[in-house]
């Protein structure tokens, strides 16, 4: 009889060779966990190389999941359980594991040759390397092959199901049911029922192994979390972004046009939208990043909601086109799924170092709206906000996601689509002025007095033929103008238009009002900061927090908020870009940066330490 122990939270990391199917294993464990009602957060971590040599350190792929009986904000700092499918996976992940943690190893892969590949002279299973951990040795490969003996599949195919055996074992350990995965496997392999059944058998064999093998004395239970009522699904940031694009189409009634060039980690937005043509979305895989932006801008001129997606290097290439968008005053949404740079940098790793490029990385005075989602599911609403700004103010908008948000997943309480904002646009259809001889005429740069947006007269509209271009335009008429005063006026007007974009105030979370230190973040640091603040408050430390979604223009109350605290800590996965903006705009605020560029999200522990240091010692 096994003992069942209750836990409130667990962090598990599945690690193996990139061919071992660890992402699928993690994804399925996540689905089972979600079904059970735990709150969860996940973080996949995979190599940039599609197939690095098998069994080597660069080839290790992992998937981490944090799940709990209460709401959680991050995928967890340190795994407590590591599933290592081979020596490389063990070596690459061991230093992250919590002391005393559980390691489940596939001993079949701990051969001399595999050990040597990663520089182990002796097997870590036999020396003192793992003495601080609870090691559970399982012959995952051979057990799987044995379990599938009766299936008419080759030994190699049978061995490939070892990830399902591991999943079955972990599902048993943490009291998950395997039905969702069984259903998934049968659907995935509809055309190969033999493979489907073999995988299901491997999954069940893993589960049964847990229940019967003596190595597993304890089974764990993590009761469901109490989450707000509603229907939930798990969602990654890139999927939520793509669906936000679809929702923007529904909310605006406009056709959608995505111009994109494949780039990590943004390509999944292109893939997702390419699947959904029924929403009237045209996806163009362009010849390069510049063409992707250009085609989106051309479609926008024609009355579509034009979007272009990329990551840092690609956004740099789009810069001139974005400036044209600023000059033409047409809506254009530029999505930058940031990754570690500069140059190729670390394409599969996360960073927030494109903020200043988004703000200023153009020629001339070319301000655009900039905003950033704070979590995977938040991408949906942030995308709708980007569409609102672009359409209402006729301007390029930069949306800054990042690799952590893009590939990470969390439960998402599905929004009520009846409450989508109305993003409807009125195209110009009539002359809006009279000329010197009293005849009706159309002035393409006669602005809305409130938003300063110019009329959007799409080609095809009778009588409103006009020419637009990158050359400076005379205010109102849009005719070419080199007049000094006009240029000064136009530059200031375009800046005033962006500065005047309507954005909600910054909300501050300061429960007891006694905090003297504010932690202010933006983008994907929301989760780790939130977890750190929670940890500090649990220990009675007063700290206020706020998170900026709107980076340009910033909410009107930012100065006031900063002024209410003695110190403001700004954690960023860059060398202090938001901090620089804050110091420039609000020189009297005492802004302290906390900066790391390791390609990884902050852990809540390190943030707790850093924040506590400021609270205690100033």
């Amino acid at each position: 009889m096994n003992t069942v122990r209750q836990l409130d939270r667990v962090v598990i990391r599945f690690a193996g060779d990139s061919g071992d199917g660890m992402q699928l294993t993690g994804d399925r464990f996540t689905a089972e966990t979600a079904k059970l009602g735990n709150d969860l957060s996940t973080l996949p971590n995979f190599p940039a190389e599609i197939r690095a040599p098998a069994g080597t350190l660069p080839g290790v792929s992992s998937f981490q999941i944090h799940f709990a009986d209460s709401d959680i904000l991050t995928p967890g700092d340190q795994p407590e359980v590591l599933v290592a499918m081979n020596p490389a996976a063990l070596k690459a992940n061991l230093r992250d594991l919590k002391p005393g943690g559980i390691i489940i190893v596939n001993t079949d892969e701990f051969t001399k040759r595999n050990l040597k590949k990663v520089g182990y002279d002796d097997s870590p299973l036999e020396d003192h390397t793992l003495e601080d951990y609870q090691v559970i040795e399982v012959q995952l490969t051979s057990l799987t092959v044995a379990a599938l003996a009766e299936y008419e599949i080759g030994k190699k195919d049978a061995a490939r199901s070892k990830n399902m055996f591991a999943l079955g074992l972990l599902s048993w350990m943490y009291s998950r049911t395997t039905e969702v995965t069984e259903e998934f496997l049968r659907k995935k392999f509809t055309k190969k029922p033999q493979i489907a059944e073999a995988n299901v058998a491997a999954l069940k064999a893993g589960w049964n192994y847990g229940e019967t093998a003596e190595s597993f004395a304890v089974q764990y239970e993590i009761p469901p979390a109490t989450l707000p009522a509603g229907t939930y699904r798990n969602v990654t940031g890139n999927t939520a972004l793509a669906w936000g694009v679809l929702a923007s189409g529904v909310a605006s009634g406009l056709p959608l046009f995505l111009g994109a060039y494949p780039i990590t980690p943004a390509s999944d937005v292109l893939h997702e939208l390419s699947k959904h043509k029924k929403f009237g979305v045209t996806t163009m895989q362009a010849e390069d990043e510049i063409a992707a932006a250009g085609a989106a801008l051309g479609a926008a001129w024609g009355g579509a909601l034009g979007i272009t997606t990329s990551s840092g290097p690609g956004v740099a290439l789009k810069s001139e086109t974005i400036s044209l968008g600023v000059s033409l005053e047409l809506p254009l949404i530029v999505i930058d799924v940031q990754r570690a740079g500069p140059s190729t940098g670390m394409p599969t790793k996360t960073e927030q170092a494109d903020l200043l490029m988004a703000m200023f990385g153009r020629h001339g005075e070319a301000p655009v709206a900039v905003l950033a989602p704070q979590s995977p599911s938040d991408c949906f609403e942030t995308m709708l906000e980007a569409a609102r700004m672009a359409l209402q103010y006729r301007t390029p908008v930069m949306l800054l996601s990042d690799g952590y948000i893009a590939n990470g997943a969390e439960p998402w309480k599905l929004p009520d689509l009846a409450e989508l904002p109305d993003l409807g646009v009125e195209f110009a259809t009539e002359p809006n002025a009279t000329d010197a001889s009293g005849e009706p005429t159309f002035l393409p740069f006669q602005r809305d007095p409130e938003t300063l947006a110019r009329p959007w007269a799409v080609p095809g509209t009778p009588g409103l033929q006009h020419r637009i271009g990158g050359i400076e335009k005379a205010d109102g008429t849009g005719d070419i103008s080199y007049d000094p005063a006009n240029h000064d006026h136009m530059v200031r007007t375009r800046a005033a238009k962006i500065a005047g974009i309507d954005v909600p105030d910054l909300a501050v979370d300061d429960p007891d009002g006694e905090a003297e230190v504010l932690v202010l973040g933006w983008g994907s640091t929301w989760g780790p900061i939130g977890a750190a603040v929670r940890g500090l408050r649990d220990r009675g430390i007063h700290i206020a927090r706020a998170h900026l979604r709107y980076l340009n223009p910033m909410p009107a109350n930012v100065g006031e908020v900063l002024g209410s605290y003695k110190k403001v800590v700004v954690p960023e996965m860059n060398l202090g870009q938001l901090a620089l903006l804050l110091r420039g705009n609000f020189p009297s605020a005492d802004v302290i940066g906390y900066n790391k560029v390791r390609g990884l999200p902050f852990t809540s522990n390190e943030l707790q330490d850093a924040l506590e240091e400021v609270v205690k010692n100033g």
Binding site: G294, A295, L297, G298, G306, T321, L324, L417, P459
Partner: protein, 344 residues
């Protein structure tokens, strides 16, 4: 022109296509002649002015859209084909034209040009080739002849030039033609053929720059030389040219074509021009009859073949998928598909 563009002709005249902007090219610029030819041709499209959009890049020629009373965008250097692709793909009701130059299309924008052509997007691309950078005041261009003396090549350019038609044909262009700024009737004939073509139409227009590269095409224009240099291609006709007593013909030679005196050739061996040959090798061979030396320069339609268009296929995929779909309902369905769970 795209399928959905209506051809029932409103009776417009050339003057209806003039905008209120003052034309500001240098006196004697070939662009004036091209503008006049285009303005006098546009009524033939049979379209209302608002159904026509001109997109240009950067350069002297790219000022073109400002002078036409249609919709127009003067964009950024080299990118007009990309921007026009977005417009043409999302708006089948428009007739979309690109105006570009040798620097704009072949240097900074080379990538967009070749990809627009291979995709066969419904665009009419007019490349004004003056073999020089005019707007930046006289540097050599990707079509300048080797050895060209310019401000940026004081000892002579060592850049090997492009042959724009060869490049277009190598890019799988379905329509390729060449004409001259000074020959309005021929220019209009070529524009008409380009407009009627479904898909990308690439038209090289030899254009004189009187300031930085004057008389670059004089050999094709001067009464003394033109008969021996200019080859007028006519579909279904044997390729003959030359002045009286010096008649020339085009015959096959090895893998290509060559010019020979007519009296040395059996008339049955003279190549009969056909623009509808599927294999681009023939049109390519024609494009090689002249390079930077214009001694035997064909003008007219080199190639005109039917191929599926990019924008047409993209639209039919979207239309097929979106037919009868309630987008809002479909979004709800999508969001609730797959693994979901309910918290009460």
């Amino acid at each position: 022109m795209a399928d959905a563009v209506k051809m029932d002709a409103p009776k417009l005249k050339a003057k209806d296509f003039k905008s209120d902007q003052e034309v500001r090219w240098c006196p004697g610029c070939g662009d004036y002649a091209i503008l006049a030819a285009v303005q006098s041709f546009l009524p033939e499209l049979g379209l209302e002015r608002e159904k026509i959009a001109f997109v240009s890049g950067i350069g002297c020629s790219s000022r073109f859209p400002y002078y036409l009373n249609t919709y127009g965008m003067h964009s950024i250097h080299g990118r007009a084909p990309a921007i026009a692709t977005g417009l043409a793909t999302s708006r089948p009701d428009l007739s979309v034209w690109v105006v570009t130059g040798d620097g704009d299309a072949l240097s900074i924008g080379g990538n967009h040009l070749i990809h627009a052509l291979r995709r066969n997007v419904n665009l009419k691309i007019l490349l004004f080739n003056n073999r020089i950078y005019g707007l930046t005041k006289g540097q050599y261009s990707p079509t300048s002849e080797p050895g060209k003396l310019t401000k940026s090549s004081p000892m002579g350019s060592v850049d090997a030039p492009f042959n724009p038609l060869s490049l277009a044909l190598g890019s799988e262009a379905s329509f390729v033609a060449r004409t001259l700024d000074s020959d309005r009737a021929h220019l209009k004939d070529v524009l008409r053929a380009a407009a009627e073509h479904e898909g990308s139409a690439f038209v090289e227009i030899y254009q004189n720059c009187p300031i930085f590269n004057d008389d670059a095409f004089e050999v094709l224009k001067s009464p003394e030389t033109r008969d021996m240099a200019l080859i007028r291609l006519e579909d279904g006709e044997p390729i003959r040219f030359g002045s009286e007593g010096g008649e020339q013909v085009v015959v096959q030679s090895g893998y290509g074509l060559q010019v020979k005196p007519a009296d040395e050739v059996d008339p049955a061996d003279v190549v009969v021009h056909r623009s509808d040959i599927d294999d681009p090798a023939y049109a390519f061979a024609l494009s090689r009859l002249s390079g930077t030396v214009l001694d035997h320069t064909p003008i007219g339609v080199f190639r005109s073949v039917r191929k599926p268009t990019y924008d047409g296929q993209v639209r039919s995929q979207v239309e097929e998928a979106a037919s009868g779909v309630d987008r809002a309902a479909a979004l709800g369905g999508l969001m609730h598909s797959g693994d979901t769970w309910t918290v009460l």
